[in-house]
Amino acid sequence: MKKGQFWYSDFMIGIIIMITIGLLFFSTIARLYESNDKIGDLISDGSLISDYFMSTGYMASQWSLGEGRIGFVNNGIVNENLDEFQSLEYNLSKTLFGINYDYLVYFENSEEDTETIKGPPGITPENVNDADTDYMIKLIRFVYYNGDIQKMAVVIWE
């Protein structure tokens, strides 16, 4: 019998190891890209709603009817539209923004005192980090509010 170049069992072991490595590699890369996509979506939606907040908005009196565009900052200064936004129902505000994720918006001054403007019931700036999610981002904007320069924080999560 003529001799072969390699053992069949060694060949099979090598093939199995290579296939295993290949599967692990591609599944890990796919998971990495999926989580990056999720974070990218959150950043995109977070930027969208923070940009809305920082605009003057329009048709504030019609927001409760699902019309207009939310916004309550004019040249860096918070205006009277904030009252209209605070009275808006949370889920209706999500519809007006066109987002599916949950969000929380609050002001924070230099003494770290916070004032919640809108968010899901029971969620505050102090407990938002305990939300049951793997994906959450926070964006900070600066505004003039209540007689001082303050941070406006927008937290958005899946």
Partner: protein, 153 residues
Amino acid sequence: MGMKKGFFFSSDAFIALMLFVVVLLGIYSYMVTSNNMQQQYYFSEDLMEVFSNVRAMDLPEEKQLILEEGLTNYNQSSTISELIVQNPDEAGIIIEELTNGLISWQYGIGLFSDEEEVYNDLENVTSSVSRTKLVKNESIFNELRLEIGVKKG
């Protein structure tokens, strides 16, 4: 009796596994450290907007007093950006008083009036974003540039 030799060595397979782990760590570390500059963009845009529209008289009384005592050319009707260009040597008082407790230590700010440094906390800063605005200083205009970046480490 001598052992018969195979073609594939187990050590080759382990080397391949190590290579895979090293490549994966490299890709993962690249994806984790890729910086999104959105926050610096917002900081610079918003601060410049607030500085350009908020007047000294709009600030809390205690801050007005600190500015009045610390600045050579103080006018409560001036905007914050006007106070900065009119008091380049004392601009640090304005920045520290107004941004203290608002901007995290991870970020460094620099302010330049006509490209002359008026405030600089940009050591070891990377991924910086710059905003420039023309600010009226009596009868002329000064170019006020605000730069914000992330501190390394």
